[in-house]
């Protein structure tokens, strides 16, 4: 038997709203995960409240600019910096932006291929 969880599709524009709503409802940000797919990226924002586990899925093209939710969930800055550095996802307005230096790697955005 395994834990059940939901994956919910979300439009990038609604991301910040949703985050704010979740924050109001006392959810915590669990993780943000990026996956490189053919057309761009698949971003999963996971939130949890107690044992409930929600995943919001953004499927975006490479050039879409995603607004950072670090203004809402402070902790998001690490995930977002990571996605930016490793995948090259365009994320805007991170409150603590390492500008590509979170991981100082030789090859930029290795996951982008």
């Amino acid at each position: 038997m395994r834990e059940e969880y939901k994956i919910i599709e979300l439009q990038p524009e609604r991301l910040v709203d949703t985050a704010m709503r979740l924050k109001r409802d006392l959810y915590r940000l669990v993780q943000i995960c990026a996956v490189r797919i053919e057309s761009g990226y698949e971003l999963t924002y996971s939130f949890a409240k107690e044992y409930e586990f929600l995943n919001y899925r953004l499927v975006i093209n490479e050039d879409v600019v995603v607004t950072s939710i670090s203004g809402v969930f402070e902790t998001a800055f690490l995930y977002e910096n990571e996605m930016k550095d490793l995948f090259g996802v365009n994320i805007d307005l991170i409150n603590l932006d390492y500008k590509g230096n979170l991981y100082r790697i030789e090859k930029p955005t290795p996951y982008k291929e």
């Binding site: 991981y103 100082r104 790697i105 030789e106 090859k107 290795p110």
Partner: protein, 163 residues
């Protein structure tokens, strides 16, 4: 004269290891293995250290750090690379951010194999390193030039000869 033999002080730096080797290095210090009985102190300060125990491979970010720590150690000094990662990057050698083993940036004197290297192996490595230290010290006293530098010069002249 065996001046260094009885008091090899180490500095431990974690390159990009998985911690496996690190905690084994630390385990060497603990009562069970107690390397202090050989006079080893884990100084944590390059300027006091004789032996650099380094675990894990080299990546783009820690490259400079490793170089600098090595540079800040006084002569004679020995580098002991602990773990497979420190030898050639180990299981991570295919990762995009692993440049390879420690010898990519500094000369390594002893490799301690194992993933994770066992405390006993690390002790063996340190014991070998101590002998090397003595050797380097003698060399320095005899020739007035540090062993490492001499070897480097030799390698370079070899390379020149080859080409």
């Amino acid at each position: 004269m065996a001046k260094l033999k009885k008091s090899p002080w180490i500095i431990h730096y974690d390159g990009s290891s998985c911690n496996g080797c690190d905690i084994e290095v630390l385990a060497c210090l603990t009562p069970l293995y107690d390397v202090e009985r050989f006079g080893v102190i884990n100084t944590g300060n390059p300027k006091h250290a004789d032996i650099l125990l380094i675990t894990g491979g080299i990546n783009a970010q820690n490259k400079k750090v490793v170089e600098q720590i090595y540079q800040q150690m006084p002569e004679p000094k020995v580098v002991v690379a602990v773990g497979i990662c420190a030898y050639n990057g180990g299981i991570f050698k295919e990762c995009y951010n692993i440049l390879g083993g420690v010898d990519k940036v500094i000369p390594v004197d002893i490799y301690v194999p194992g993933c994770a290297a066992r405390p006993e192996s690390i002790i063996d490595g340190v014991v070998q390193a101590v002998d090397l230290l003595e050797m380097k010290q003698d060399y320095f006293e005899k020739n007035g030039i540090s062993y490492n530098k001499a070897m480097k010069n030799k390698n370079e002249s070899n390379k020149e000869n080859e080409s």
